[in-house]
Symmetry: C2
Subunit: 533 residues, 2 copies
C-alpha cells in the first residue's frame, strides 16, 4: 500500500523532471515570483534603506518626502528584521494555502487536496494517522486542569487526577489562569529534573537550572540574546550546521549576529566532522568573534543521529576553543535506525570527567512539540543550563521575567511529558500502547521514506536515522536551473513550487535550510501519512 | 470590614514612617542590598564590559584571560540585556518569595502571610475572591477543547459545546495540539474583528489586520522590533508615559532604542498634556529620531482613564508629528469612575474623518489577562493594525512566523473573550452574573483604595478611574532618604522593602515605573482582596 501511494510522488517527480518545464509543452506555473515577504539581501541593504532608515522627520521633509508618507515603510523599518527568513512558513506555504482555497472554490487542479509535508506538525495529520494524534492521557489531565470540577468525575482515572491535582496545587489560586513564576512552575521544574536524571543514568540535575519556555524556539532565542554582542570584527559569531533549522538563521539575523556555517557531511549520512568545525571556526575568526556552537541532534532537517564519539569530540572541541554549546535535543525520542542511540550532550559531558563537566557551558533544549507527543500548539518546552556563570544566570532570570511566564497549559503539558503514567497506574498500559504504536509507525515511515525516495529518478536520500525529516538530494537539469535563475529564483524553490502546482505536495526547498553550493534538496516531513503511508 | 482590614496597611505604614528607620530603635531590615539582578547603568556600561565584550578568543588569551574562564560572563554578555529592568518581578518579589519560604519553615515574622500586591494576577487571588477567579464558561469550553470526548457529556451546556466545536474545527487535526497559522486561527481572528466592530459602534475591522499574540506583551515587543532602527542621532526614539508599565522600558533597552519620556500630570489625575508631549518630542529630536508614541489607557500603573478629547488631541499630535501610535488597551473593560468611559483609539480615529482614519498608523493591543477575565496564565492576546504599509505587514507576518504560532489554548480563550455567551444561550445568565459581580467588586475596590489610602498619613492617592492599580504618592522623610541613598538604594525601594519586611505586603516601588524626580510612589494592585476587602 505504501509503495502504491508513493507512486504519487514518484511518477510526478519524474514528470516534473522531464515534462513541461524542460520541453516547454507542460502547463505553466501560475505564480513563481517571490512575494515581497522575503526581499533579497540586496534589497534589504539597498542604499534607499541605508540612507532613509532612522532619519529625523525634519530631514525627511527637507528631502522631499511628504509628511503624510507612512511613518513605517519597508525602507524605514528595522533592517535586521528584513534579513530574517523562515522558509518553513515562507512563500511556498502561502501558495499552498492559496491552492487549498482555490480547490475549495471548485477550481480544477491536477490533484484533489494539498498535502503539507512542510512542517513537523503531527496533530494536523490526525485524520490520516489517529495513533499519532495524542495520548489521551495528556488530554484527560488537561481537561481536569482546565475545569477542576471534573476531578469529581469517576470516569477519569486516578493517575490523571493525581497529576492534575499536583499541577493545580502549584498554580496560583489553583488555576491554570494565573501567571506562574517566570522561570516556570517549581513542581514542573522538579519533574523535569527527575526526568533528566533518569534519562542520563543518574547524572544529577538541579531544578534551579531548568527554565520552562514557550516551545524550544523561545529558549534558543533567549540564550542567543544573552550571547550576542560586540561590533564589527568583534561581533559575536554563532556556529550553526548547514543544513540548519531556519529558526537559527532567523534569530541570528534579527540579533545582528554573524552566522558561522559548518557543513554536515552528506556523504557520511550528515555526520559532523571536527575538521569542518575547525575550518569554519578558523575562517570566522578572521572577521568575527565566534562564541557559541549550535548542534541539532537528532538532526533537523537532515534526520541524522550523532554518535557518542562525535558528541565527545564536539565537546572537546568546544572546551578547547571556548565555545558555549547549545544542544537542540527536541527529537530525543525519535531515533529509528538500528545501531543508533540518542546520547544527550549533558550525559556525555559528565562522563568525560570533571575537567569537562565542571567547565564546559551548555544549554540543552527540549519541547512538547515533537517525539511521540507532537503537542505543538501548546508551546511547551524547557532548557537546562550547565556551568552558567551565576551572574549571567541572574540576568537570564531577569530577562525571562519581562515576558511574565511561559503559557501555563504548555507548562502543564511539559510536566506530563516528563512524568508519564508509571507501571501499575491505571493509564499505563494504554499510554504505552499509544506511545509504542506512534514511535513504531514513525520508524516504519522513516525507513519507507529512504527506500521509496531512493527509487525515484533524480532523488537520492540518506537513511533517516531519527527526527521526522529527510533531506534528499535532487538532480535539477541545467536547462531548468537556467530557467529558474532567469526568473531570479533558487532552482530548488522553482522545483518545489512546480511540485506544489502539479501534485499538490508542499515541500520546503533546501535553500531555506542551507546546502552546499551547486547541490539541491528539499525537506520532506516523514510523518506525513498521506503520501507514504 | 474593608476599613478594618485596611488598618493593617494604614497602621503599619504610619509605623514604618515613624518607627525604627527614623528613630533607629526598630528592627533592622535584614537584606536591603540590591541583588546582582539589576546592575546599575554605570555597571552595565562599565569600561570592563565595553572593552572585553566581543573580543576574539585569541586576543582574550593575549590579554591574560585564562582559556578556562567562562565563555559567557556578566562582562562579556549582551550589554543591552543588562540594561533591561523589570520591577514588577524584581528584587522585591524575590524577597517576598524568600519570606514565604521562611514563614513556611516556621521562622517568626511580624505577619502570618505575605500579600503580593505587586502584580495584576487575578487568578492567584482566587482563594480570597472566588468571584474573580474565572467564569466557569471559559473553563468548560477549554475542557471540551482539551478532551473532545466530553462533547458527548450532557452535563456541558450546548453553547459551550458549540464554541468548542467551532474552535476545534479551525485547528489542524481538530486539536489544540496543532500549530495554528502564525497570525492566529482564522476563525478566532474573525471573531475578534466582529468584537471590535461592535465595541466601536460599527467601525469596520478586517480580520487580516488582526494578529493573535502570546499575551499583549508579545505584540508590543513585535511592533517595537519593526520600528527600531538607525544609529546615534538617527536612532529610533519611542515616546512612553512616565509612570509607565516597565515592559516598555525593558523592550526599548533590549532593542537599543531611545526611551523618550513624557510625564503624566499627577495633579490632574494622571492625564496627558499635549504641551508635555510637545516638550518631550522637541527635546528628543535633538538627539534621536522619535517615531512612535505609546499610550496605556486605562493606565498602568496610574489607573487613569483618558478622555475622548485627550485621545483626539493625541491622534492629531501624532498625525502632525508623524508618529506611529501604539495603544495599549488591555484594561478596556476596567473603567469604574463616574463620568469616565473607555474610548478606543481606533474609534476616535475613525470619528475624526478620512484625513486621519486613512493615514494615522496605529497598533492596538488587547489580552485575556485583565478586565473581568484575568486569565493571565494562558498568554492570550491580539493586536489590530491600522494603516500599516502593506510591505511592512508582510514583514510582520514573516517575523511572527519564526516563532511558529501563539499558544493555541490562549487563542481559544481569546475567542471566548470576544465571543461570550449571548442572550438566550444557556450559559448567558450565569456568565453575566459572574462578569458583573467581578467588575462591581473591582469598582468597589478601586473606590475603597482611593478612600482608604488617602486616610493614611504620608500617602496621597488619585482616584482610581480604571485598570487595576493605584499609584499613590508617598512622603519619605529626609532622614530616611539619606539612609537609603547611603545604602545605594532608591528611597522608594527602601520604603517598599521595609513595608515587606514589617508587614508582609509586597508593593512595587515607583522607581520601577518612573516618576518625577524627588517624588516617591508605589504601585498597589487594587484587586488584592486580602488587604482592602
Amino acid at each position: 500500500m505504501a509503495a502504491a501511494r508513493m507512486q504519487l510522488l514518484s511518477t510526478r517527480n519524474v514528470g516534473i523532471l522531464s515534462r513541461g518545464w524542460l520541453t516547454g509543452d507542460g502547463p505553466r506555473v501560475r505564480s513563481l515570483t517571490s512575494p515581497p515577504l522575503c526581499p533579497s539581501p540586496g534589497r534589504a541593504l539597498s542604499s534607499v534603506s541605508a540612507t532613509r532608515c532612522g532619519l529625523p522627520k525634519e530631514r525627511m521633509s527637507e528631502n522631499g518626502v511628504s509628511p503624510r508618507a507612512k511613518v513605517l515603510t519597508v525602507d524605514t523599518m528595522n533592517p535586521t528584521v528584513k534579513k530574517v527568513e523562515y522558509a518553513v512558513r515562507g512563500p511556498i506555504v502561502q501558495r499552498a494555502v492559496e491552492l487549498e482555497k482555490e480547490l475549495s472554490e471548485g477550481i480544477k487542479k491536477p490533484f484533489a487536496e494539498v498535502i503539507k509535508a512542510n512542517i513537523g506538525d503531527a496533530h494536523a495529520m490526525v485524520s490520516f494517522f489517529p495513533l499519532y494524534s495524542h495520548t489521551s492521557f495528556y488530554f484527560k489531565v488537561l481537561a481536569l486542569c482546565s475545569y477542576p470540577e471534573l476531578l469529581n468525575d469517576s470516569r477519569f482515572p486516578e493517575d490523571a487526577k493525581s497529576r492534575a491535582r499536583r499541577i493545580l496545587q502549584s498554580c496560583g489560586g489553583n488555576s491554570l489562569g494565573s501567571y506562574s513564576a517566570s522561570q516556570g512552575i517549581e513542581s514542573v521544574r522538579q519533574d523535569v529534573a527527575r526526568y533528566i536524571e533518569q534519562r542520563d543514568g543518574g547524572v544529577p540535575c538541579d531544578p534551579d537550572n531548568i527554565y520552562l519556555t514557550t516551545g524550544a524556539s523561545d529558549g534558543i532565542v533567549t540564550m542567543l540574546k544573552l550571547l550576542v554582542c560586540g561590533k564589527g570584527a568583534t561581533r559575536t559569531g554563532v556556529m550553526i550546521s548547514i543544513p540548519q533549522y531556519p529558526l537559527y538563521s532567523a534569530a541570528l539575523a534579527e540579533l545582528g549576529a554573524v552566522q558561522v556555517n559548518y557543513y554536515l557531511n552528506e556523504e557520511k549520512c550528515w555526520s559532523m566532522d571536527i575538521s569542518e568545525l575547525r575550518r569554519a571556526l578558523d575562517e570566522a575568526r578572521r572577521h568575527c568573534n565566534p562564541r557559541a556552537l549550535c548542534i541539532i541532534n537528532p538532526g533537523n532537517p537532515t534526520g541524522q543521529v550523532q554518535s557518542r564519539q562525535c558528541i565527545e569530540d564536539v565537546i572537546r572541541f568546544a572546551a578547547k576553543e571556548r565555545l558555549f554549546l547549545m544542544a537542540d535535543e527536541v527529537y530525543q525520542d525519535n531515533v529509528y535506525a538500528e545501531g543508533c542511540q540518542f546520547h544527550s550532550f549533558k550525559k556525555v559531558l559528565f562522563e568525560m570527567g570533571p575537567e569537562y563537566s565542571n567547565t564546559v557551558e551548555l544549554a540543552s533544549f527540549h519541547s512538547t512539540s515533537k517525539c511521540y507527543m507532537g503537542e505543538c500548539g501548546f508551546r511547551g518546552g524547557y532548557m537546562e543550563i550547565i556551568n552558567m556563570d551565576e551572574e549571567v544566570k541572574s540576568q537570564l532570570t531577569k530577562l525571562v521575567s519581562v515576558r511574565l511566564c511561559p503559557p501555563v497549559p504548555g507548562q502543564a503539558l511539559m510536566d506530563l511529558v516528563v512524568n508519564p503514567p508509571r507501571p501499575g497506574e491505571p493509564s499505563y498500559d494504554n499510554f504505552m500502547r499509544e506511545r509504542t504504536a506512534t514511535l513504531s509507525a514513525l520508524a516504519e515511515k522513516a525507513k519507507l521514506t529512504e527506500q521509496v525516495l531512493n527509487t525515484v529518478q533524480g532523488i537520492s536520500c540518506n537513511p533517516v536515522q531519527g527526527a521526522m525529516y529527510s533531506f534528499p538530494c535532487i538532480t535539477i537539469p541545467e536547462k531548468a536551473i537556467k530557467e529558474a535563475t532567469d526568473k531570479g529564483q533558487q532552482p530548488d524553490m522553482f522545483y518545489c513550487m512546480k511540485m506544489l502546482e502539479e501534485t499538490g505536495i508542499c515541500l520546503v526547498p533546501g535553500s531555506g535550510f542551507g546546502q552546499k553550493d551547486g547541490t539541491y534538496h528539499f525537506r520532506y516531513t516523514t510523518h506525513d501519512y498521506n503520501i507514504l503511508g
